[in-house]
């Protein structure tokens, strides 16, 4: 049998993948208009933040012929052939239309100059246009519109969203939810215009129906999509009154040898716009092509999204006889459940700002509630809900709880990764992953703490083993307590443990081979294989003479310079053989390593404090420098950052640090467990009004306790959360474990044995020998490293990425 698929989007991909997996023996040809095979459109926005097109593209299953960058322009149902734009004629026995949909562009004057948001090429065009522009407008405040708005914001544009309806995301949330969502979106600096349509676009200007004019260089339409049913219409197939290729429950169109699947299909009177139902349709059509009897019985339109950092979820019916609402305008949380008139059956729900109930409650739609609706909303996840086996867990891939349990019980899956592989659950949008983990736990699977295949121990266990047994080499540790020869996970962990325990040079002897490339060259690797150099500038305080030296070094070695977010200066673009020469100059001028490359203390930032600032109550700069000098070089499970503010105005942002200090009239308040980064967290107050000595002692113990007990790459934020603030206070302020003397001694040892590892490297010819591009040609620089100039400084010329 000869199957031809028109369109190569995610649905076509699922179809051919399913056919291939189920042993289809005929020939398959996919003809797609886009220049590449199907890619993960749901993750499209990540393309703008640097995910390459290759990473988004799905692999073409073996044995399938593709014709890319060509469009089918005609179907000859009599002769069973399709003809493409390029004139190619392809015969078929079975034809599948998977042509998806096209963004709808309303017919307003000037619309031809606007962009849409659907393909990788669309995003390239938007990115190019954004370079020249300062502001952008997204027309449409639905799910995709908000995603596009976030993208424009990410491209640095002042962003506006225009929505004709009275609220954002009118199809997913009700008015109350819309109001909370709007507050979140506005809080991010996006201007929201609701209840107003578009009048026209002019060059560089958007005019709204109410007369508002917005100056904007980029306009993106996201005002809904229309099924691409033009081929079907032209071939005389039945289409719906409002578009969509009409299909029966087996995804067959009015011509029995033609199927339609995905966003172009009208199934049961509905055109679906989410991947989960599209995938289900593809699987039904594949089964039918193979002679099966699968049916598509409609699909759940639930959605859980993280838009602009806000959780938004809706599931089931968005109306009902009774509803229960929970609203917390201060923290921006809105949750509502719809229930039947006897308040026993769950019909649906909406969450904005906190979607925890989604995972537990969505599978219960149409079923009896396990607790009073109010309790379920208020208690969040603390009410344990036992799900029935037929409850869907992953709606993207239509996997039930029973299937996940079977993966554990029958197929021996012992972690989330294995369950994903076995059932496909969790592989699309990822929102069901927490539910998978909790099913694993409820099945009694203890999640392994093993670091990697070489050690069955966790990081804190290895730390104790090395400390108590006095082990100081990786070879001994792995021979006595592990297996094999280690990997990129366990080696840097052990290197860090040994460094925390012994304070020796990280490149001494066998330890040199354990270090990740950054620690190995005492510099940070960059995308083209060059390195960056960050000298320590304690507290951000620097003399003019030292500033001049940095400038001279950068000029003499042709390095790119940038002020970092950590109050110091980063010099980029050094080749390995240049690093010693650069550091020689810096060390001579009195600089030392800033450990920007290590899991170690980074910076202690500070504000100007009482020396200059009219509000300052303590000398924040002096304290920041003292702390940075005390803890410099301290290796830890993850990097450590600190800041000291001279008063409660908090200009040093101390509460976003691992340990942050804020001056009071009488001393210092110590905050711990703050984090910027991927999961921001404000630090918690550990102790207040400490004297200088009390402050230092509390930080000493905090750091040493963290170093001993945290997991691999666990920042203090996650660590403090896992052990609890009260417990932490007990241990380090009240010595409940009786280990404080030990912690104090460990820190005293660190302070006494600190040395600058760059200076030590320069003094050791043996260590210097590895700083060459080529062992057999020490004088030759790596010829693959090439720079261009941008804004008067160097920039790597992008290396071509092609795999063999």
């Amino acid at each position: 049998m000869n199957v031809v698929v028109v369109g190569y989007g995610p649905t076509a991909h699922r179809l051919v993948e399913t056919l291939a997996a189920k042993g289809f023996t005929g020939s398959i040809t996919v003809i797609g208009e886009e220049p590449r095979p199907a890619y993960d459109r749901v993750a499209l926005t990540s393309y703008l933040s640097g995910t390459g097109a290759e990473a988004l593209t799905y692999p073409v299953p073996g044995g399938i012929a593709t014709r890319l960058a060509d469009r089918v322009t005609a179907v000859d149902r009599e002769g069973r052939t399709v003809t493409t734009r390029s004139g190619h004629v392809q015969p078929y026995d079975v034809l599948v239309l998977a042509t998806g949909s096209a963004p709808f562009v309303p017919p307003v004057p000037g619309a031809e100059g606007a962009f849409v948001y659907r393909t990788i090429e669309d995003l390239d065009a938007i990115r190019d246009a954004s370079r020249e522009a300062e502001a952008g407008v997204v027309v449409g405040g639905g799910l995709l519109g908000l995603e596009a708005a976030d993208a424009l914001r990410g491209l640095g544009l002042a962003t506006h969203v225009v929505e004709m309806a009275g609220r954002l995301m009118p199809r997913q949330v009700d008015e109350g939810g819309g109001a909370v969502l709007r507050k979140h979106v506005e809080g991010l600096g996006i201007t929201v215009h609701t209840g107003v349509g578009l009048d026209r676009l002019e060059d560089g200007r958007v005019l709204l129906a109410d007369g508002t004019a917005i100056e904007a260089g980029v306009v993106v339409f996201s005002a809904g999509v229309r099924p691409r049913d033009e081929l079907a219409r032209q071939a005389g197939l039945e289409v719906g009154a409002r578009g969509g290729v009409a299909v029966d429950e087996g995804m067959r169109t009015s011509d029995p040898s033609i199927y339609a699947v995905g966003e172009c299909a009208l199934a049961g009177g509905v055109v679906y716009g989410l991947v989960a139902p599209c995938n289900a349709m593809a699987e039904v059509a594949a089964d039918r092509i193979l002679g099966g009897r699968a049916v598509f019985a409609g699909a759940d339109q639930s959605a859980k999204l993280k838009l602009l950092g806000v959780d938004v979820a809706s599931f089931g019916e968005l109306s009902g006889a009774l509803d229960v609402t929970y609203m917390d305008p201060v923290s921006g949380v809105y949750k509502k459940l719809f229930v039947s008139d006897d308040a026993r059956t769950l019909l649906g729900g909406i969450c904005v700002g906190d979607a925890t109930p989604y995972a537990t409650l969505r599978p219960l739609v149409g079923r009896e509630l396990p607790a009073a609706p109010g309790d379920l909303l208020f208690a969040g996840t603390s009410v344990t809900v036992e799900l029935p086996d037929d409850a869907p867990v992953c709606t993207c891939n239509n996997v039930t709880r029973g299937q996940v349990r079977a993966a554990v019980a029958e197929h021996g899956c012992t972690d989330v990764a294995a369950v994903k592989k076995c059932t496909r659950a969790g592989t699309t949008c990822g929102s069901c992953v927490p539910a998978l983990a909790s099913i694993l736990a409820s099945e009694g699977v203890v999640q392994s703490k093993a670091l990697c295949e070489h050690f069955d121990h966790s990081r804190p266990e290895l730390f104790d083993i090395a400390r108590v047994r006095g082990i100081s080499t990786f070879s001994r540790l792995i021979a006595e307590h592990g297996r094999g020869r280690g990997c990129d996970i366990c080696k840097p962990v052990v290197a860090s443990i040994l460094a925390s325990l012994n304070n020796g040079h990280v490149l001494e002897g066998e330890r040199a081979a354990l270090q990740d490339t950054n620690d190995h060259f005492l510099a940070n690797i960059q995308k083209n294989g060059t390195y960056s150099v960050v000298p320590r500038i304690p507290g951000g305080e620097i003399t003019p003479e030292k500033l001049i030296v940095i400038g001279e070094v950068a000029r003499d070695f042709g390095l790119y310079t940038k002020i970092t977010g950590g109050q110091r200066i980063d010099l980029f673009g050094a080749r390995v053989e240049q690093l010693p020469d650069i550091w020689k100059r810096l060390v001579e001028a009195g600089f030392e390593s800033g450990h920007a490359y290590g899991k170690a203390l980074r910076t202690v930032k500070s504000c100007v404090g009482s020396a200059w600032c009219r509000y300052g109550v303590q000398d924040s700069v002096g304290m920041a420098i003292a702390l940075e000098m005390r803890y410099r070089g301290l290796r830890s499970p993850h990097k450590l950052k600190s800041a000291v503010s001279g008063c409660a105005r908090e200009c040093a942002e101390a509460r976003s640090k691992d340990f942050g200090i804020i001056a009071t009239e009488t001393g210092w308040n110590l905050y711990v467990g703050g984090n910027g980064g991927f999961t921001p967290r404000h630090a918690d107050l550990l102790a207040n009004d400490l004297s200088d000595e009390e402050l230092v002692r509390a930080i000493d113990r905090f750091l040493m306790f963290y170093i001993r007990t945290a997991d691999r790459l666990q920042r203090t934020s996650a660590w403090v959360e896992s052990i609890g603030l009260d417990y932490l206070r007990e241990v380090i302020l009240r010595d409940s474990l009786g280990i404080c003397a030990d912690l104090d001694a460990a820190m005293a040892r660190h302070v006494a044995t600190y040395f600058d590892e760059w200076r030590a490297t320069l003094d050791d010819p043996e260590k210097l020998r590895r700083f060459v591009s080529f062992v057999n040609a020490p004088g030759i620089p790596d010829p693959s490293i090439v720079f261009e100039t941008e804004r008067g400084q160097i920039k790597p010329v992008l290396v071509e990425v092609g795999r063999s």
């Binding site: 020869r485 081979a513 490339t517 057999n776 693959s784």
Partner: protein, 118 residues
């Protein structure tokens, strides 16, 4: 530095790289061999391997700076950029078997590491 020429048809040309003892066990070294960048590794059990120095995922010539170790019985190196793991024996990427590094024969002659790139 790459002065050795082919001697006769069917004979390999071996290019000297460095003294064997200059290689740190489980750490790579890059060499420029007839215009090609090669990453040479000495394993813990003193075996010698040479693979291409270009990381196919990032395009940068950095494989010699990866961490070497084992996966199961296989000696491997992890790309320093984004940590994809490659077999030192076959060059194949264990995380994505459609991608591979070129591999080159090696030997030690009178204490000197030699690689052949033809």
């Amino acid at each position: 530095m790459t002065a050795v020429q082919g001697i006769a048809a069917g004979t390999r040309t071996w290019i000297p790289i460095c003294p064997y003892t200059d290689l740190i066990p489980e750490r790579g070294a890059a060499a420029l061999v007839r215009g090609r960048q090669v990453a040479v590794f000495r394993t813990h059990d003193d075996r010698l391997f040479a693979v291409g120095n270009r990381d196919p995922f990032s395009g940068a010539h950095v494989m010699s700076r990866g961490i070497a170790g084992t996966r199961g019985e296989e000696p491997v190196v992890a790309a320093p950029m984004h940590k994809q793991t490659f077999s030192l024996i076959t060059g194949v990427c264990l995380d994505d078997p459609t991608t591979a590094l070129p591999t080159y024969p090696t030997r030690v002659t009178n204490g000197t590491v030699e690689v052949s790139v033809e």
